[in-house]
Symmetry: none
Subunit: 420 residues, 2 copies
């Protein structure tokens, strides 16, 4: 099996303030492509250590993926590190100077001399074009091991990996088939038995992860014959999916938000949102999907009671009698935003995200969700047990799942009350 080593470069990682999501992303990608990641290492902005780490990584793997250390400041030493490992010098490339200059012109900003560092390449290396930043990546070969160096900024790294590196490496991977299936509504432990059975029956490798109410089941099958690997992967994954049909919503890179947008488009329907505790997160999850504007009319982020009354027509008596976090308020929010926007569907969320604001009756994590439809409002009470951020993201996923189930004719889970 082809092996890959991952090297992350930057003092910020060793100080612990920056979580290394790049390395995890690259592990996932390479594993999916059938590569075995044999090790990861992190070093600081220290030239001898970088040279040593590159040399060691290259000795242990067929491909080395590096992130970080390509910026314009003196502590960005990856270019020097690659040159050191290769035993060569660095030279400025006129085409890279031009590309960096052009980028600054487009941004209507002035390029400084230190940006010229980014036009340097180790001799014998080639540049990887950066579509969304100034720093080009570096491609080199050390004793037969291919080295790829990418920027540390996650968006730039992902783009460069997808556009420049993936096309060069995907074909050498072994014959592995992989499917990631995403579920919402079932419990993680309920997958244990079905997974064990499918692993035994099909010889596939199956794992699960949970992330804010979304369960991802990864099914992986390997065989010398690619078609056979595909068939094993499909049979094993389908056997599991059939047991959780209502909770399954998408595969691979399709998200809950993209699934809901696709369903709305397919049905020719529109959506409006009334967000309190989620505070714009439902809207931003949907708007992350290109083309969301076709179906999302508006979100009213009404954090205060005054805004709930003014924007959504929630009645003051309702807020007084039942509180902002209540079935009645959620329902009036969902109904109000339907009426003022003319959307076909609405989602409303009101809850206590924490850390403060909880009471014995309504502890932190209590969230009322409401789904507004042409045939009335559906209300759903949830109790999440995460931190402020986690409670909000769980509310987003659970709210979108209500609409997904309604649009795809699947039953709701948990306590859902229909109000005419």
């Amino acid at each position: 099996m082809n092996t890959c080593a991952i090297l992350s470069i930057g003092n910020e990682l060793l100080l612990g303030h920056t979580l290394d999501t790049n390395a995890a992303f690259l592990c996932q990608q390479m594993t999916t492509l059938g590569w075995r990641v044999c090790g990861m290492a992190t070093v600081g902005d220290d030239l001898p250590k970088i040279i040593d780490a590159i040399t060691r990584a290259a000795a242990s793997a067929d491909v080395v993926l590096m992130t970080g250390g390509l910026g314009p400041t003196p502590d960005d030493l990856t270019r020097d590190g690659i040159a050191g490992a290769l035993g060569v010098g660095l030279s400025e490339h006129a085409d890279l100077v031009e590309a960096i200059q052009a980028r600054f012109t487009r941004m209507k900003r002035v390029m400084t001399d230190s940006n010229l560092r980014q036009a340097l390449l180790p001799d014998g290396a080639t540049a990887l074009k950066n579509e969304c930043g100034t720093a080009p990546g570096v491609r080199a070969v050390l004793n037969g091991t291919r080295l790829f160096s990418m920027p540390g900024v996650p968006s730039e790294m992902k783009e460069m990996f997808a556009l420049r590196i993936l096309p060069e490496i995907e074909n050498v991977a072994g014959n592995t088939a992989m499917r990631r299936m995403h579920y919402c509504g079932a419990s993680e432990s309920s997958f244990s038995e079905p997974i064990r059975a499918a692993e035994k029956e099909f010889g596939a490798e199956i794992g699960t992860t949970v992330d804010d109410m979304i369960i991802t089941v990864r099914v992986r099958a390997s065989d010398p014959d690619k078609q056979k690997a595909d068939a094993i992967c499909l049979a094993a994954s389908e056997q599991i999916r059939q047991q959780f049909l209502d909770s399954w919503f998408s595969d691979d890179d399709a998200t809950m938000a993209s699934t809901v947008i696709d369903l709305l488009k397919k049905n020719g329907k529109t959506l409006a949102l009334a967000e309190s505790c989620t505070g714009g997160l439902i809207a931003s999850a949907l708007i992350d999907v290109p083309g969301a504007s076709d179906v999302l009319i508006e979100s009213a982020v009404t954090y205060s009671n005054a805004a709930k009354i003014r924007r959504l027509g929630v009645r003051e008596e309702t807020l007084d009698k039942y509180g902002a976090v209540s079935k009645q308020t959620a329902a009036e929010m969902a109904r109000g935003v339907l009426q003022t926007t003319g959307a076909d569907y609405s989602l409303a969320a009101t809850g206590i995200a924490g850390p403060g604001g909880g009471t014995e009756e309504k502890p932190v994590g209590t969230v009322w969700l409401a789904l507004g439809t042409p045939s009335g409002v559906y209300c759903n009470l949830r109790h999440f047990l995460a931190d402020r951020r986690g409670n909000r993201v769980r509310a987003v996923n659970t709210a979108l799942d209500l609409l997904r189930r309604h649009l795809s004719g699947q039953p709701f889970t948990g306590d859902v009350e229909h109000i005419g």
Copy 2:
């Protein structure tokens, strides 16, 4: 300075589905205690690789902190790895058997034979008591380097680090002072010269990172005398900050959102938002900060033209004549949301996040921002060059920076036009 290496063990980390938060936690802790983390490595459940990694880590540092691989299953190989690196065997310890047995009795569960693996220790090593799990940790010494092995479950790891390891290491740490300063509005490359000068003058260690328009400058100073380390850190960081006073907005864990919320609270002012391309992200960044409800009245996420007209009173003629992404529309959005909410300040964002929707005149990444104030509206045109997500996050940070600069009496950067 005392050095520390961190070693994470487990196949799940190499598959990329589990983010290694343990390593980041330990980096932060050790850095705060004045240690220098000289490197991190991750290996899978593979005995020769674990032995090699322990040997290398021990050769490079005074202390090695390990997490993972202490469970009861056959793929948990850290105990064997330490024994291999030390060149000794493993022996079962009666007191550990008893402690594990007692834990199972308390949980009213039956101990299996595989749990007895957790009572093994490399010869010459001692156990670290685990208060919240069955796996004891391991303490050993290899050629003068102290090795500490902890469970991979984050809660068990943190407890063991705090109770068993911290008391043994905190007193030997050097005296380090550290400051992270956050800037928005200056270019990263403009920091190069001032950083080089401050490093030279004060002997401090200084690095930068950039994340969606936010530049973080980390200054670190070490000295046998703690007060002297503090003084060096302060002098070096202030010398840099004085050159970018308008762009500096906070230190350490304070974010752009928390800075803006603090400024609004201090001034007793309120804010409303009108978000198009940012689609709820400005609201959710602010609402991430506990207590945001005191100052954020509402966000109108008006993605469609119809919503801009209905909710914000943007004129149809403005949209027809200038388009949704224009100075005029941004200004009417900012003014409209001020009027309907009665807030003191407003921020509006309208732009082309991509990947589609760009034209020659208004390419992807074109964003108009507007700041509404009691003394008129300020409009700012930006050209971002990231992907959809990056363009939106950059618009969020840049918009909040407009308000921050206004509230703290700092000048704007870039093209900002004041409309009465």
